[in-house]
């Protein structure tokens, strides 16, 4: 047993660090440090920088333009991105639809879609959830009816992240209303330019513009945009959701935020001295750090096991564990950051991209702390809520 990185892994980590230092602009890095959204353009620029380096899709096989890295390298890479911080590859393309396409899609689909995911020429969004189908995703109602060479799609998707930027949406649609609910679902790729698609923004409670409703009215989708077999979409969706194990706990994000908490707590004063000198506050930080260290090792156990036996592509209850604890830690760190800012967590700094050109209110850092706390309530809701994750563990691990 040895819990250290091998020399090769350490060298790789240093290579990634150096690359990030040289290639992430200060402006983008600062936005991420402050917890602000990165623009579409910044995302695209960054995707191309990574792709030029051959690092656009850390966990794809090399034959599809990925790195061909094993699980440990993928993990190291993503953690370094999060710690730096740099934008991560857009999950909807790289982590979600890409692997579905190269695993279940046909050659034409691979050729058409995979390269554009890497360059972000195609921005993808995920059309799974519906107003009536959240945790109970299989009850989705959006239907696709075959009409010659097309499917005619009608229905509504919701909570669709960054649909306002998207060129394409991958949707779960009902193709057989008579089958058992999981068995009548298909996986369709839909061009957002198709007539009949309307995107309406949903503002989140922190004022963020990240989610949307997507209405589909008589949308004509060519049959060649069906992935795999008709009525097998649920299997592909399960593959997609279970595929994510190396990054789900977002260890690097929490590490970066903890570093930020220490940095700002050294600037903010309490009882006439820096807050970081307050023993009680330091204990609170340490307490979260303990949880994070343990989770990091759990994550590495999962990664190492994957490395040994090769990824199975099957859902693994370990993802549920990592998701629950990872989200709890992310939420704890955003709350701590808000506490650091104290009264100066209260001003609403407005949205910088809305032409806000006044100087910041207060000390000029940490202005998004409260918003991050509010916004991060989402991490225990999306991608399978923590209650659903616990149901999975109770059943699959504990046999209850």
């Amino acid at each position: 047993m040895d819990l250290r990185f091998t020399p090769e892994e350490t060298a790789f980590r240093d290579e990634v660090r150096a690359f990030l230092r040289n290639h992430v602009s200060d402006a983008v890095r600062e936005r991420l440090v402050e917890g602000e959204m990165v623009s579409r353009e910044d995302y695209v620029t960054w995707a191309r920088v990574l792709n030029d380096k051959g690092w656009g899709a850390p966990h794809w096989p090399a034959e599809h333009g990925g790195t061909g890295w094993g699980p440990m390298k993928q993990y190291i890479f993503l953690e370094e991105l999060q710690k730096h911080p740099a934008p991560q590859p857009l999950a909807f393309g790289v982590n979600m639809v890409g692997p579905v396409i190269y695993t279940f899609g046909n050659d034409a689909q691979k050729k058409r879609f995979l390269p554009a995911i890497l360059t972000l020429d195609d921005w993808w969004c995920q059309g799974f959830s519906e107003p009536g189908a959240g945790s109970d995703l299989a009850s989705l109602k959006t239907k696709a009816v075959r009409d010659g060479d097309h499917y005619i799609v009608n229905g509504q998707k919701t909570w669709t992240t960054l649909a306002q930027y998207a060129d394409w949406i991958f949707c779960l649609v009902r193709t057989n209303p008579d089958a058992k609910k999981q068995e009548g679902i298909s996986f369709l790729l839909i061009d957002m330019e198709t007539p009949g698609i309307e995107v309406r923004p949903i503002v989140t409670m922190d004022g963020g513009r990240e989610i949307n409703e997507v209405f589909l009215t008589d949308v004509r989708v060519p049959v060649e945009n069906l992935v795999g077999e008709e009525n097998r979409g649920w299997d592909y969706a399960k593959f997609l959701l279970g595929n994510e194990r190396t990054n789900i706990a977002r260890i690097g994000v929490s590490k970066q935020r903890l570093a930020r908490i220490r940095e700002l707590a050294a600037k903010e004063m309490s009882a006439g001295r820096p807050l970081i000198e307050d023993q009680r506050f330091r204990e609170k930080i340490a307490s979260v750090e303990i949880e994070l260290k343990a989770l990091e090792l759990t994550q590495l156990r999962v990664v190492a096991a994957d490395a040994k036996r090769g990824t199975t592509g099957k859902p693994d209850p370990a993802s549920s564990y990592l998701k629950i604890k990872g989200s709890e830690i992310q939420q704890a760190t955003t709350h701590l950051l808000m506490e650091v800012m104290g009264p100066y967590a209260m001003p609403d700094q407005g949205e910088p991209e809305e032409g806000w050109n006044e100087p910041p209110i207060g000390p000029g850092y940490g202005g998004q702390a409260a918003k991050s706390y509010f916004n991060n309530r989402k991490v225990s809701i999306y991608g399978g809520s923590n209650e659903i994750q616990k149901n999975i563990i109770a059943k699959a691990v504990l046999g209850l």
Binding site: S129, G132, G134, S135, D136, S139, T158, W159, I202, V203, T204, M205, G207, I211, E268, M269, S270, A271, G272, L275, R280, K284, Q331, M338, E339, G342, P343, Y344, A345, M346, P347, D348, I361, G362, P363, A370, K371, Y373, F374, R377, K378, S380, I381, Y382, S385, N386, E387, K390
Partner: protein, 383 residues
């Protein structure tokens, strides 16, 4: 022991509850959030007509003679409806300074204007480095003849942008963190040398950054002893904490009710999500947190006028700590149990959650008060 409201108190609760239910629905609040003022002058007049502004003042001063219980009743309704008007800052805090520290002449000058709704006040106390310490005061009050000259900067002055008069803490003697040497001054918000930058806070209230550049304050605008104002500040802030606790209870109660209603109507897997036992238990945790908050708020309310300042302070530390803790239990679970809907600005739950989070940061967060209570020996001292 008697936990019941008197007949007058019940009438106050019912009539304000009815007014807000009719006139201050969530849609009204949402419209106000987008407006430059951020609150409703029309509702402010309605409150004045109802006598809410005159409520805590002695009858001899032109008030109605209500006490902490009446304030609690009003603040709970404010929390339930999540209103935006500057009641806490004007009546509870500004009014509190005049009630507890004003001279006869000052009371005669200010209270009638507060009572009829024509004057609004704000409390300029927080500074860049003060965090939650009331005695950390860098703003200076320099004596000049019988008058004072104020210089410094105050931040996150709640409703400081619309206030007519600012209650300002400033140092007339001693060092930055001395408990002595702090004066409390009534400053005309439009006086030369005062500059204000107003903004919205995370919960849709308003606040201001306020700079004082050699602002002249006449001798008759000093509240109490210019070199020993801290006891007055603490007494008023304690009233504010009891009032905020009541507001939090109102907000928690409404948020809990919203959540339980949602659990009964939202269906997944063919059943109302309220059927899932794990969610039932979470709703029960919220309920217990709410009732604990309600009880500690009653305790704080009863202690607000206590003549024993130490006992009073300990009660407020306890209340603020418990409200912080319980507010988080109710707020975070409410969002979680709503799923995606809870995350939206369209829906009320997030607004209650944000208000509860900001109440925690006002006059010291839960941890701050927990530490102070521990230092003060706790609530049940040995022997």
């Amino acid at each position: 022991m008697d936990f019941d409201l008197s007949e007058e108190q019940s009438i106050l609760k019912d009539s304000l509850g009815r007014l807000l239910a009719q006139e201050y629905g969530f849609d009204v609040r949402k419209k106000l959030l987008g407006s430059p003022e951020g609150w409703s002058a029309a509702m402010w007049s309605r409150y004045a007509e109802m006598g809410l502004m005159a409520l805590p003042f002695a009858e001899a001063d032109g008030g109605i003679g209500g006490g902490p219980v009446e304030t609690m009743i009003v603040m709970e309704e404010i929390g339930r409806a999540l209103t935006l008007e500057p009641y806490l800052t004007t009546v509870v805090i500004g009014g509190g300074f005049l009630r507890l520290g004003g001279s006869a002449a000052q009371k005669a000058e200010f209270i009638p204007d507060i009572a009829d709704g024509s004057m609004k006040l704000a409390f300029a106390q927080v500074e860049k480095n003060s965090r939650y310490d009331l005695h950390h005061v860098e703003t200076t009050a320099e004596k000049s003849g019988g008058d004072y000259v104020l210089t410094g900067a105050k931040g996150v002055v709640l409703h400081g942008d619309s206030a007519d008069t600012l209650v300002v803490t400033a140092r007339s003697a001693g060092g930055t963190r001395d408990r002595n040497g702090i004066g409390v001054f009534l400053v005309d918000a439009t006086a030369p040398g005062v500059t204000r930058r107003g903004y919205a806070t995370q919960d849709g209230h308003r606040a201001a950054e306020i700079a004082f550049d050699r602002v002249k304050v006449p001798a008759d605008r000093v509240l109490g002893d210019p070199e020993d104002g801290l006891p007055l500040v603490e007494a008023v802030v304690d009233h504010a904490i009891a009032a905020l606790a009541a507001e939090a209870v109102g907000a928690m109660e409404r948020l809990h009710a919203l959540t339980v209603e949602y659990m009964k109507t939202r269906k997944q897997f063919g059943v109302a999500i309220g059927q899932f036992q794990v969610l039932q238990h979470k709703a029960v945790d919220m309920y217990v947190a709410l009732e604990q908050a309600r009880s500690i708020t009653l305790y704080a309310t009863m202690m607000a006028d206590s003549l024993d300042a130490n006992e009073r302070r300990r009660a407020m530390h306890a209340a603020k700590a418990e409200i912080g803790r319980g507010g988080r239990v109710v707020g975070e679970n409410a969002i979680q149990l709503h799923g995606g809907v809870g995350m939206t600005a369209e829906y009320a739950a997030g607004h209650y959650f944000k208000r509860l989070a900001m109440i925690d940061l006002t006059f010291g967060d839960g941890d701050h008060h927990l530490a102070r209570l521990a230092e003060a020996g706790g609530l049940f001292p040995a022997g």
